[in-house]
Structures are given as structure tokens and as C-alpha cells.
């Protein structure tokens, strides 16, 4: 007598394999993002080249590659943190600190590029460890922790520099040639960035711990119930982001040779913008490092184009800011739209 209405339902026919348009829709959204950035990039490059052909001569291309490789690297590190619904605002300061300390360490010695990179990675990882521990174990909001780290690291940097600077003439030649040399006409720096990028992308896609980073960002509560070691994963994400920033600092030294204490200050916002413009949602769980790298490439190209077109550099910041807002708004809208579309496509 207590039959639920649904209990009498006619037996559902053998489940027809659902047309996977839901999946296609989501793929399409992602592709649309990467395609539109790619498209914007091509248009920008073409437009600038038409106005000034020197933009794409061999020196121009080389500059573009060199300038973007450090930002791409930082964007890769940042994406890993942002995927877990956190943020690392200290990367700019970490680059400055490692560039300076590495320079100080090798000035007047005959150390090679490997030592510089390893030292940079070690210093950066240490900074990441501190932020990561405070965020994951101390449960302090990431924004607060890394903003604090930004100033702490900067303070240490200034104290160490004490008004001085690193001069290219004191650096060992092998270190400098890391910044200027190339294989088959391709400079080392972009090669390193692409290698790190590809390795990170592969890791995030194919390893359990990589997927777990996205899971944490997508729903921390579900991650906890799924038994994911959230604290450890977040800690590692920060150490990784710090290490990458340290590597970027070492490359900065190799590229510019002359380094003052406030190198790369203010870069954190450019990096976050690149990542978000590239489709890594600031709310975590979504996006790829490839997208973030594209975002970084776009921002670098914009600033390069503005120089070539002799536009006031003030505009660069305004454009970056506008792109950031546009990207976050787009993310939000796309999310609402796809949710509705997916809901509609659900059978019930």
C-alpha cells in the first residue's frame, strides 16, 4: 500500500548509450578559449608586423621568445597553485631574490649554469615551502600568506642587496651564455620553458597526484571525503611554484646579467593575469598549463607590440587589467551557461 509512484514505473529499456554531446560541449568550450587566444595572438602579430616589419625580423622573434619564456615559466608554476583554488602572489619577489642571490653567489667565480639553476630552484623551493606550510598546515588564507611573503622576500632581497647590484662583467661566461646562447637558432631559455611546460602538463594529466590537484580545487569538501591528502598536495604545489620561480630567477640573471634588487617586482599580477586569461579558473579545478602558457605569450606579445608601435607603456598595464577582467567575466558567464546547458542535456 505504500507504493511510491516511481516504483511502478515501466522498466526502462536497455540504456541507450547517451549521445555524448555533454562531453563535446565542454571540450568545445575549452577549445574556444584556446582558439580565441590563439586567434588574438595571430591578429596582434600580423597587425603589428604590417605597421612595422622589424617586429618579425629574426631579432624581433628572438626577443619575443626570450621575453616570454620567463613569464611562461612563472605561469606554469602559478597554474598548479591556482588549480587547487589557491594563489601565489610572492613569485615576483622570489624571482628578484633568487636572481640577486644567485648573481651574488657566482660573481667572480667559475660556476656553471647548472649550479646557478639548482641554487635558484633551491632558494625558490624554500620560499614555496614557507608559503605552502602556512596555507596548508596553518590554514591561513592564501591571499594573506603570499601577500605577506611578497613583502618579506622583497625585504630580505633589499637587505641583502643593500643598495648594490649584480654586474654582468663579474658573471662567469657560461652563465651568461645560458641567457644568450642557442641550439639551431633557438635560444636556450624558451627551450627550457617548453620542456618544463610539457613535463608539467604531462604530469597533471597522467598522474594521480596531478589529477588530485584539480580535484582539490574543484571541491575541497569532496576531496576530503575521497581521502585525498589535501594538505600535502597543496604544500607540494607551493613548493613547485616556488621552485619554478627560483628557476625563473636564475634564468633572469643569465638573460640580463645586470640585476638590481627589485628585479621582477610587480610581476605577480602579470603572471596571475596570464594564467587567468589562459583559462585557468581563479576558483580552481579548471584549466591547463598550455592555456596559461598561451596567456603568457599573449601578454608578452602585447607589450612587445606596444613598444614597436611606440605606444605609451602605461597602456600595457591598462590592457593587461582589462584582459584580466574580461577573462574572469568570461569564465563566470561560460560556467553559468555550460551548467545550464549541461543540466538541460541531462536526462532528468
Amino acid at each position: 500500500m505504500k507504493t511510491a509512484l516511481s516504483a511502478l514505473e515501466k522498466p526502462s529499456a536497455a540504456p541507450a548509450p547517451e549521445k555524448s554531446d555533454a562531453r563535446n560541449l565542454v571540450d568545445a568550450v575549452f577549445r574556444a578559449r584556446e582558439l580565441s587566444i590563439g586567434g588574438a595572438l595571430v591578429l596582434l602579430i600580423l597587425g603589428t608586423w604590417l605597421t612595422n616589419h622589424s617586429f618579425l625580423d629574426s631579432q624581433g622573434v628572438k626577443d619575443l621568445l626570450l621575453n616570454s619564456s620567463i613569464l611562461v615559466l612563472l605561469a606554469v608554476g602559478q597554474s598548479v597553485v591556482v588549480a587547487t583554488r589557491n594563489i601565489d602572489l610572492s613569485v615576483g619577489s622570489v624571482v628578484g631574490l633568487t636572481a640577486f642571490t644567485c648573481g651574488d653567489f657566482v660573481s667572480g667565480t667559475s660556476h656553471g649554469p647548472l649550479t646557478v639553476m639548482l641554487l635558484g630552484i633551491a632558494i625558490g623551493a624554500l620560499c614555496g615551502l614557507v608559503s605552502g606550510a602556512l596555507v596548508s598546515i596553518g590554514k591561513v588564507p592564501a591571499l594573506v600568506v603570499t601577500l605577506g611573503m611578497l613583502y618579506v622576500v622583497q625585504g630580505i632581497d633589499y637587505a641583502l642587496a643593500d643598495g648594490g647590484q649584480i654586474n654582468a662583467v663579474n658573471l662567469p661566461d657560461p652563465v651568461l651564455s645560458l641567457g644568450s646562447g642557442s641550439i639551431l637558432g633557438i635560444p636556450y631559455l624558451p627551450l627550457i620553458s617548453v620542456a618544463v611546460l610539457a613535463a608539467t602538463a604531462y604530469f597533471l594529466r597522467t598522474y594521480r597526484s596531478g589529477r588530485e590537484l584539480y580535484a582539490i580545487g574543484s571541491s575541497p569538501e569532496a576531496a576530503r571525503l575521497a581521502g585525498i591528502p589535501i594538505r600535502r598536495r597543496v604544500l607540494v604545489a607551493y613548493v613547485f611554484s616556488g621552485a619554478i620561480a627560483g628557476l625563473a630567477g636564475a634564468l633572469w640573471l643569465a638573460r640580463f646579467g645586470t640585476v638590481v634588487a627589485n628585479a621582477a617586482s610587480g610581476w605577480e599580477l602579470t603572471v596571475v593575469s596570464a594564467v587567468v586569461v589562459g583559462g585557468v579558473a581563479i576558483t580552481g579545478g579548471v584549466g591547463s598549463v598550455w592555456g596559461a602558457a598561451l596567456g603568457a605569450l599573449l601578454l608578452t606579445t602585447i607589450s612587445g607590440a606596444l613598444i614597436v608601435l611606440k605606444v605609451d607603456p602605461f597602456w600595457e598595464q591598462a590592457i593587461t587589467g582589462a584582459l584580466l577582467i574580461l577573462a574572469i567575466t568570461a569564465d563566470r558567464l561560460v560556467q553559468v551557461r555550460t551548467t545550464n546547458a549541461l543540466r538541460k542535456r541531462s536526462r532528468r
Binding site: A4, K10, S218, L225, R348
Partner: protein, 508 residues
């Protein structure tokens, strides 16, 4: 199957476990034994402590005192991963999925099959997911994201997750609340197979017939205390209810005679491409109209379009003779319409906000004086409604997120009832609500109707439909196929229309 007392040792047990949250004593000296090959039901009212007990077994909560025993030896689970590694699979009351990840990833997160060098074997993950879906008899694409899944499908994913590894103990917290009949039947047959293979099962449901159908033993909790554990054969439904509620329940479907006035809500030729078409009906003052039909017939979609949450492609909605702007919930609310949605957790509540805030959210005008929200008014209103709905809580200022599942449902009901609407639309008003309160909700709906409210109720619970409605509208595949007055509405007539066996009955 009553011989297990003397038979095998319990796989998993609780011994004198207590757990408090601040001043709330959710569990007090509760003991429970789960035997291999036995399905054990856990019964109790909303807030009795069932979910807390489950979370203690799952390693989510650690008991304040008492022990968890695994194979007769005390264990401490430091987290859900420990319990899982001990072979305990849990389906939680509220689906907790990763919206951005695919269904397959949701199911296998942290446990994906791997290839050489620790790489995830994506193919194996998808194949295993497809197999699980086939076993449960549903057609969900393993690679689509979890975002946008209906609650029923979310629940299916949770079930698949629990079945995806060889569990010795399967724990299910109201897994059937949102499922269709055939899905429930599938779930039960899968559970039966597992049980036959020697797994221990712990099952929670507010639908007593399911408990009697699936389980061999039932433990009752009341206010966090253990009341009894009995073999199911020794009990009748009434015995079980008495143990849960601690008293005899009054009349189950208290329908009052009401005076039916003129139409308060008129829906004309409402259509939404591919979902429902040409839906027209009236709901008059003092009347309770039930919208019946199979899950998926388009009932929830119709009421959402009426309220304006979803757009309709064509058609009109009139409230008290005035035409509503389509697609505007604000306009609907201003006209005195309230909708208690089906998916309460996502659409109905702000989990971090207090109970009183949540109840006040819809009626800010009534608790506002000169632009400021008056806390005393807010509290008064919340206190009123929580008494009427027998809400079980510690302080009204506690966040809604810590309430038991059924009590969260009551807050959503309170929130909308507090707007003092003239047209009330409720989607599955008593899903997840215990037997005692269910009767209370029915009494409330009935007395509201007696005061002249027009009530439109979507329900999959046939006794509820037959017991409460003055008129039953039946939908089949997106169309209104029958309109049955109370006297003609029977289980057979409603089902016949709902399954499309006689589509011509519709009174013009």
C-alpha cells in the same frame, strides 16, 4: 537470516560511541554490529544522529568516547582514506562531487587503475566506469563532467563510487531519496548480490517499505541514543515508527475540508521546446493540486518555468488574474508565488549562513525597517517557523550546514512558507523528511490551503498524492495527460495515465 547472533563475528562495530558537536550530543553511548552477509537498517527521525554514526564509521568523525571495532579489534581511522583502505565503502547523504571533473574521474579519484611508471590508465578508468553504469542500468557518459547532473544522477555517481571497489562493508545514507523506482530496484539487486557474496550492509532510508524490503535487522536511534536493535521479522511498520518517534503517530494524511475559491494560478499553453508542451491548468484558492507522473515526465521543469527560474518558449502564467512577466522569479515572488525547489542544497540554502538568516532571506521586506534588517524580527520569524516544522537545532544562529539533512529541508520549507505566499509551489515536499514530520508537513499544507492558499505540489510519493490532493494532474512525456478529481484518483488511474496507457482521459 536471524541466526547471525550466534554465527559469524561482526566485521565492523561501534561500541558505546559518543559524539558531540559543541552543546549538541549527536550520539550517546551507541553500539551497533554489522555482520557479513547481513543488511542492517538504521532508522530514526531527522537529526537522530544517523549520518553522524555513519561518518564515525567512515573515518570522517572521530568518536569522543567509545570505540570503532574492525574484525573485533579496536581501530582508529585518521580519515576517510583509512576507512576506505579497510574495505568500507560509503555513500553519503549529500552527493559531494567534483563538478569540473568527469564522471569517471569522480568515481576513481585517487584510485585510478595505473599503467607502467604510475601513469593513469585512462582507458581502463573509462571502461570500468562504463561497466559500473551498465551494472546500475543507467546511461551516463563516463567522460561528461559532473557539473549540471540532476540530483538523481549525482546519487548514481556516488553509488557507482561505492561499488567501484571490493567493499567488505557498504554503508548507504539515504541513497534512494532521489532515485526512480527502476533505479532503486537495480540498486537493491546489486546490493543483494554483494550481500550474498558476504558483504555487510548498513542502510538508511525514511521509506520504511524499503527497509523491510532490503534489510534483515534494524537499529533505531532517537535523539542520539540507541533505542533498539531487532530482527526485521519481529517488527511491523507501526512498531518501527513507534520506536523512532517514541509515540503513536496520528492520522497520516490529515486532509481538511476546504472551501475552494476562484483561480489563483492559471497556466495557459506553457511550452518549452523538447521538455514539455501545451501545459494548461488552474489552481484555485484553498485547493491542493498534485502534479504526478514518472520521474522525467517534466513536472519539475513545468513548475520552474511557472516560477520563472527557467524560461518558457511560449505560453502565459496568470496570478490572481494578472499576467506574470515570464522568466522572472522576482516578478513571481512579488505576485505572491513561492517555489520550494527540488534541489534544496544547491538552490535553496546558503550553507554558511545561519538558520535565521536563511529563513529571512526571502522575506527581507518583512524584517526590514528603514533599510536595515532588524535582527529581532528576523529571529522571531525564524523561531516561529522552526517550532511549526519541529526543526531540530542547537541555536538559530548556527550555520545551516551543520543541520542534519532532513532539517536542512525543513529550513527551505520554512524560508518559503515565511513569505506568506498566496500561491505555494512545492517540489517533492517530503523527500528526506522522517515519518513524523511528514505528517506535520502535510498537516501544515492542509491548514494553509484551508486558509485560502493555492498549493501546487509535485510529488513522486503516490500515497502522498492520493492522500493530500483535491485534484491530480498527471504528466506523461512532457504533456498533461489526465486530470483526476480526488474521488477518481486511485493508484491505478494515476499510474495508468502516468505510464501513458490512456492518454485521452484529459477533461477538456
Amino acid at each position: 537470516m536471524n541466526d547471525s547472533d550466534a554465527g559469524p563475528a561482526p566485521v565492523l562495530a561501534l561500541k558505546d560511541v559518543s559524539k558531540s558537536f559543541g552543546a549538541v550530543r549527536a550520539l550517546q553511548d551507541v553500539s551497533l554490529q554489522l555482520f557479513p552477509g547481513e543488511a542492517h537498517a538504521l532508522a530514526g527521525e531527522n537529526g537522530a544522529g544517523k549520518s553522524t554514526l555513519i561518518k564515525t564509521l567512515a573515518g570522517v568523525h572521530r568518536p569522543d568516547t567509545g570505540q570503532v571495532l574492525l574484525d573485533d579489534s579496536p581501530v582508529t581511522f585518521h580519515g576517510p582514506a583509512d576507512a576506505r583502505d579497510a574495505g568500507i565503502a560509503v555513500i553519503y547523504q549529500e552527493p559531494t562531487l567534483f563538478p569540473d571533473l568527469s564522471i569517471a574521474e569522480n568515481i576513481f579519484m585517487g584510485r585510478q587503475p595505473r599503467r607502467a611508471l604510475g601513469r593513469i590508465d585512462r582507458k581502463a578508468v573509462h571502461a570500468a566506469t562504463a561497466e559500473l553504469m551498465a551494472r546500475l542500468g543507467v546511461a551516463l557518459d563516463p567522460q561528461r563532467p559532473a557539473r549540471g547532473l540532476s540530483i538523481a544522477d549525482q546519487q548514481i555517481v556516488e553509488i557507482a563510487k561505492a561499488l567501484s571497489f571490493d567493499a567488505r562493508v557498504l554503508i548507504m545514507d539515504e541513497p534512494t531519496a532521489a532515485l526512480t523506482g527502476s533505479e532503486t530496484a537495480r540498486l537493491f539487486s546489486v546490493v543483494e548480490t554483494l550481500r550474498a557474496e558476504g558483504a555487510a550492509v548498513l542502510f538508511i532510508s525514511h521509506r520504511l517499505e524499503e527497509i523491510f524490503q532490503l534489510c534483515q535487522r534494524v537499529t533505531t536511534l532517537r535523539d542520539g541514543r540507541w533505542i533498539s536493535s531487532d530482527p526485521i521479522g519481529d517488527l511491523t511498520e507501526d512498531d518501527l515508527v513507534r520506536r523512532m518517534v517514541g509515540r503513536d503517530l496520528g492520522e497520516l494524511y490529515p486532509k481538511q475540508q476546504t472551501e475552494i475559491g476562484e483561480a489563483a494560478l492559471s497556466v495557459r499553453r506553457l511550452t518549452r521546446e523538447g521538455v514539455f508542451r501545451d501545459v494548461s491548468f488552474d489552481v484555485r484558492r484553498g485547493e491542493i493540486v498534485a502534479l504526478a507522473g514518472l520521474v522525467g515526465a517534466g513536472r519539475s521543469e513545468v513548475v520552474q518555468a511557472v516560477f520563472g527560474v527557467d524560461r518558457a518558449d511560449a505560453g502565459e502564467v496568470h496570478v490572481d488574474g494578472k499576467r506574470l512577466t515570464v522568466g522572472s522569479p522576482t516578478a513571481a515572488m512579488d505576485a505572491g508565488v513561492a517555489l520550494v525547489p527540488e534541489d534544496r542544497r544547491q538552490r535553496g540554502l546558503v550553507m554558511e549562513m545561519s538558520i535565521e538568516r536563511n529563513i529571512a532571506l526571502t522575506g527581507l521586506d518583512q524584517v526590514r525597517r528603514g533599510g536595515l534588517v532588524r535582527r529581532s524580527l528576523e529571529q522571531g520569524r525564524a523561531a516561529d517557523w522552526s517550532v511549526k516544522l519541529q526543526l531540530k537545532y542547537n541555536k538559530l544562529s548556527d550555520s545551516v550546514g551543520v543541520l542534519s539533512g532532513g532539517n536542512q529541508q525543513k529550513v527551505v520549507l520554512a524560508k518559503w512558507l515565511a513569505t506568506e505566499p498566496s500561491v505555494l509551489i512545492v517540489d517533492e515536499p517530503t523527500r528526506g523528511i522522517d515519518v513524523g514530520t511528514k505528517a506535520e508537513v502535510h498537516r501544515l499544507l492542509s491548514s494553509l490551503a484551508a486558509e485560502g492558499l493555492a498549493v501546487l505540489m509535485v510529488s513522486s510519493d503516490l500515497p502522498e498524492v492520493l492522500g493530500m490532493a483535491d485534484r491530480v494532474l498527471v504528466m506523461h512525456e512532457g504533456r498533461l495527460v489526465a486530470e483526476l478529481p480526488r474521488t477518481e484518483a486511485t493508484e491505478e488511474s494515476v499510474m495508468a495515465a502516468a505510464t501513458g496507457r490512456n492518454g485521452k482521459e484529459r477533461a477538456a
